[in-house]
């Protein structure tokens, strides 16, 4: 029987969808069969990040309302043969999902029999969409950025997950910038962990390559040369049960940038 994991955050824009897609890709790269389900009904994005938007014919609402079979709605990824997507509906909204919550639960149950991992990309907020997504999850991954507002919302979400009986929840700290932490302008990992009090699954450094990859419909986890790609690879391995060390995130400037910084300092910039 597979495992159902909900990826949630509370606050919007912290990187849930990016994390869901790249975790799915990372696990698939390790040979696991993964189904990514977009539960953000009405604001579908997972298909775009995976570059599959033109291949979506049926979505999760079509399955739940009986217009198609589940196999017709599941789309295989272009590059990773064991990665699949069940897209959200763009023309419905979250209340429609809430009305068919029992049917949604049956679908998830069925999917867990077919896949090693079922990853649910939850919408932002703590209303119906989040409630539906977290109702059938075995574990939760809470994504946050090291900002006070995001951490506050993450704390709220963790409280709600605990109230729902989801005991296994993990933290991914996204968009981490060492230079800002060093200058005292960003919460450190320890600060965040002190407030949230849950196990750290991984840290993803701020990396503009994520945007480049997302716009091209490619998963950054498939890249060995980007900081974010390597971070998602480590996180995927940890999620799969491997013991992987946490690296240092001190920014390595490289020789050229060090020389540039030296001259900038001399010129008083």
């Amino acid at each position: 029987m597979g495992k159902c994991i909900v990826v949630t955050s509370g606050k919007g824009g912290v990187g849930k969808t990016t994390t869901s897609a790249n975790l799915g890709g990372g696990l698939a790269s390790l040979g696991k069969s993964v189904l990514l389900a977009d539960v953000d009904i009405g604001l579908r994005n997972l298909d775009i990040i995976m570059g599959l938007e033109k291949r979506i014919v049926y979505d999760v609402m079509d399955v739940m309302e009986g217009r198609c079979k589940i196999q017709q709605a599941i789309v295989r990824d272009k590059r990773l043969s064991t990665l699949y997507l069940l897209a959200a509906s763009q023309i419905h909204d979250k209340s429609d999902l809430a009305e068919l919550i029992d049917r949604f639960g049956e679908i998830i149950k069925g999917l867990k029999k077919e896949f090693d991992y079922v990853i649910l990309d939850s919408p932002a907020g703590i209303e119906q969409g989040f409630m539906a997504a977290s109702s059938f999850a075995d574990e939760a991954i809470v994504v946050t950025t090291p900002e006070v507002t995001a951490v506050r919302d993450a704390d709220r979400v963790i409280g709600l997950l605990e109230a729902k009986g989801i005991k296994d929840h993990y933290l991914i700290l996204n968009r981490y910038r060492y230079s800002m932490v060093k200058s005292g302008n960003m919460l450190d990992v320890e600060d965040v962990l002190h407030i949230l009090g849950i196990e750290l699954l991984g840290i993803v450094p701020e990396d503009p390559e994520i945007i480049t990859f997302a716009n091209k419909g490619e998963l950054v986890v498939t890249s060995d040369s980007t900081a974010a790609g390597k971070a998602f690879q480590r996180i995927s391995r940890r999620l799969n049960g491997e013991k992987v060390e946490f690296p240092s995130f001190e920014e390595d400037k490289g020789l050229f940038n060090k020389i540039k910084s030296f001259f900038r300092a001399r010129l008083g910039e």
Partner: protein, 224 residues
């Protein structure tokens, strides 16, 4: 708060006690009690309490009866209990040891123990004291009739002493979002360098304001 200290209102097990030190006017007492219930509307919602009247001076029985009549209109009050017998008055008379014990002990109220941290959005309402073995995260709230003791970080909102103005708030890591004791609100300014944050601190109500001091482990007499 209490008009020229002629009377005081304190909480005791499931009851509110009015201790009258000198004869006040009926209007002063009624106005004060009305204001007390209005300021703590949420706390008393759906609750009825016993209202105890304890005169420590000579008062006409007719004064007590008139007072009970005036206070009976408050829906928060279920019944009255009047301490008439001199032996009853000995419960909190000016006896050195009893006064000392009264000031250092919390047993005049029930205490709720919480063995987990409070997360954002979670709330505790309790008539007595609250002791938390964990943190009070930003966005969480505790409303207590008595004292609040946080054996962790206090970064949320605390309303203590709703029933007992001699209550304290203590935390191992003291940095509350908002703090009130006995209805008086205080916030720690971000720029207030005289307050040492993130250390053992406690707050108490005195001289009509909230005082915050480091906890240095010595005996502390509440209400002094």
């Amino acid at each position: 708060m209490e008009k020229d200290k002629k009377f005081r209102l304190i909480g005791s097990r499931g009851a509110l006690r009015l201790i009258i030190d000198e004869k006040p006017s009926l209007t002063d007492i009624t106005t004060y009690v009305k204001s007390f219930f209005e300021n703590n509307k949420t706390f008393f919602k759906g609750t009825k309490i016993i209202f105890e009247i304890q005169p420590l001076c000579d008062l006409d029985p007719s004064f007590i009866e008139q007072l009970k009549l005036k206070l009976a209109r408050f829906q928060e009050i279920d019944t009255f209990k009047v301490y008439e017998d001199k032996d009853d008055q000995n419960e909190v008379e000016d006896n050195d040891f009893k006064v000392y014990e009264y000031k250092i002990c919390f047993d005049r109220m029930n205490t709720k123990y919480i063995f987990k941290s409070l997360r954002s959005g979670q709330k505790i309402d309790y008539e007595g004291n609250v002791i938390i073995f964990g943190d009070v995260n930003p966005g969480s709230k505790i409303s207590a009739g008595g004292s609040v003791i946080v054996l962790g970080s206090l970064k949320g909102t605390v309303q203590a002493g709703i029933l007992d103005s001699s209550s304290i708030v203590f935390a191992l890591d003291f940095d509350p979002m908002q703090l009130s004791i006995a209805g008086v609100l205080g916030t720690l300014s971000n720029n207030d360098e005289s307050i040492i944050r993130n250390s053992n601190m406690f707050a108490y109500f005195k001289d009509n304001k909230i005082n915050v001091e480091p906890w240095i482990g010595r005996k502390f007499l509440i209400g002094e």
